[in-house]
Symmetry: C2
Subunit: 407 residues, 2 copies
């Protein structure tokens, strides 16, 4: 279930920044579960042209909407995003491309802009054509509004149990700006983006190149540091729209840029952790804080290797302080370090010290692992850089769910 | 359960070649299950000096026995291997190194050679010191003999359900030579070696450099092409011993070398497939034959990416012909190919053709996936190279087992 937002975060989701509207409705791509109000087509619209930047899946097999967006992003400006869930529109050939383009035309007509002004996303099953009659009907019923951000976030969901939204604010040049966002995740979440759709918004005016750099920095600390099952999807997309509706001079670096980047990171880290917390079948999450690395890149690689290990994830499920699996996963990450100088902690409990097992209270360690969230700290003793990754337990529910997701 | 050997294979395991003896006993590293006769310390001995080559884990965290063997392999000759199961002797610092060296001294004394003549392996839990009193007792009771190869293969087992043995023969220079082998695997099996111990033997006389090349070729087609859960271990070791006991001129290439390599590959592929078939919780296995790749290396990478995907494995468990997950895993392998030219088959059923979903009989496809073994063929339309990888289903039993392996 969604929990109360941490105190550094605000409500209002992706439409908290001025000039953004959103909506989500049900059109029948998914089977309707009367017990939960599922939605499957949605939009996020900016009332004025927004500078846009994006980061996409590195999968060689890219869904049609990803290809459309990658091309349209070169224009540097957009008016909104139309999207559907339940069908990925991936591996669908020319028909799939035509369908993705039609989705943008339909929303563009409704908003009164051109199709080129609209981006498109899909998430769900691979290899089936979109039911376009239903999609057309759904898009025609979208009525974007400030207060419908939660409906929009719900329309992104596939196997997500709850919509993921967050907002924050920052001050720059004497103006208070908002940053907002919504995300969906659940399965296939992995470093380098995986069936994850994220839309971030801000009412600050931001230079296009700087917006891209700020997005990359925020994503590197958030969505690139989470892992559910190691599969990277055909559809992953993180978009940020900056519409400048709150006024002020254009932000292109300096203290104002750092303030923007910090707020984007705060929202992105929260959404990323929500995705892990809600991973298919997951019951709890863990962090891996890697320190003493030769570089931030090295720290990230080691953290992700540990957070991605099936054996670490299953040991975590069983609250087994089997720290050898963590050292093993760090060892096969490809990063050079001297295991004889490395040390590992579970919260404050020293598990492994300078290459040798430490004596520790197994029951106390196991009790820590029973909590909803736990942090491991791994010191590689190879430098000063650090990074934190997040993972979740691998459960029988994950296996059962994914063995018949489609049929 | 172990099945009857395919017809190209012979019985007799690692001691089928002349001049090899083996044994395995129970000393108490593992908890004894009275229902199954478990053994946990063993040896493989050559009656005469054997040329030796090895391939080891690429994990940065290497167990003490791996470090010992890597150094001793530089001598190029050995008299045997002593090993234990239930404890990996990894992340155990100086004490672990002293224990590994003592194991080699104990077997050396018994066989009447020097400690440098003996190699050592361990497999099991990481981060605990070996119970050396038990290990000493166990090694003292080893009585290596030709007919005790099955006991030796049993002593390697950790979570394996059955011992894995195979033998084959080849003719070269008018002499009939034997090749034998034993292996253990089960969990953490992954390309690039993972808690996997394999000992191969031959009574052919083989030049040291050529023996290494033949081993690498055999391993590239077998143990490097299997995946259970993506974790690479601290202890993986594949050793080949060639003692020349059957006489004849030294083999260093040419038709004799190809015959040797072919027999090694036959034994290695069988043992690798046995490891997958016996993977923790696995109920069935699948092959991924990648063809039309730009290079053999590219074909291997794509095959392993598919065979390692948790989402492919869970779909396979549910006999769901969800081929989109296969294309997705091929796409994130890092290998360049054009998805719009790629095609995919399940046995004879075309699933995906030139970038577009094919119409196929879902029930027939699902029935094929219910079998003990199924083959996918993926044509990348990017060249002439091919390779085959093997994987297994990911089951709830895997998760349950690995969530309390240690405690």
């Amino acid at each position: 279930m969604a929990e109360a937002l941490p105190e550094e975060l605000l409500t209002g989701g992706a439409t908290r920044p001025a000039g953004f509207l959103a909506d989500g409705v049900f059109c029948g791509i998914k089977e309707l579960d009367p017990a939960i109000e599922k939605r499957d087509v949605g939009c996020l619209v900016s009332e004025r042209p927004a500078t846009v930047a994006g980061v996409f899946t590195n999968n060689r097999v890219k869904a049609a909407p990803v290809l459309v967006d990658q091309e349209r992003l070169q224009r540097g400006v957009t008016r909104g995003i139309v999207y559907c869930s339940g069908n990925a529109n991936a591996c669908t050939g020319d028909q799939g491309m035509a369908n993705a383009l039609e989705m943008t035309s339909l929303l563009a007509d409704q908003v009164g802009v051109t199709a080129d002004d609209i981006l498109v996303c899909s998430t769900g099953v691979i290899g089936q054509q979109l039911p376009m009659a239903k999609v057309r009907d759904g898009i025609s019923r979208l009525a974007p509004a400030k207060e419908r951000h939660n409906e929009a976030a719900t329309a992104m969901m596939t196997t997500d149990a709850w919509p993921k939204e967050a907002a924050a604010q920052f001050e720059a040049n004497g103006v208070t700006y908002a940053v907002g966002g919504m995300a969906k995740g659940a399965a296939m979440i992995h470093p380098n983006m995986a069936t994850m759709l994220v839309y971030l918004t801000t009412d600050a005016p931001v230079a296009r190149d700087y917006l891209h750099r700020a997005l990359v920095r925020a994503v590197d600390d958030s969505f690139h540091m989470i892992s559910v099952d190691g599969d990277s999807s055909t559809n992953d997309t993180v978009l940020v729209l900056a519409n400048g509706a709150a006024g002020g001079p254009e932000i292109s670096g300096g203290p104002a840029g750092e303030a923007l980047t910090g707020a984007l990171r705060t929202v992105a880290v929260h959404l990323a952790r929500e995705i892990v917390r809600n991973a298919e079948g997951a019951t709890k999450m863990f962090g891996v804080a890697v320190r003493g690395a030769a570089s931030v890149a090295a720290a990230r690689i080691v953290g992700r290797s540990v957070a991605s290990s099936s054996l670490v994830k299953t040991a975590f499920l069983g609250s087994d302080p089997n720290w050898g699996r963590i050292m093993c996963a760090a060892g096969y990450s490809g990063v050079e370090f001297d295991p004889n100088k490395a040390s590992l902690w579970l919260e404050d409990i020293l598990l492994f010290h300078n290459g040798t097992p430490a004596d520790f209270d197994e029951d106390a360690a196991s009790a820590l692992l029973d909590r909803k969230e736990t942090m491991f700290t791994l010191d590689l003793a190879a430098g000063d850089a650090s990074a934190t990754a997040w993972g979740c337990d691998l459960t029988t529910e994950y296996v059962i769910f994914n063995s018949d997701y489609r049929t």
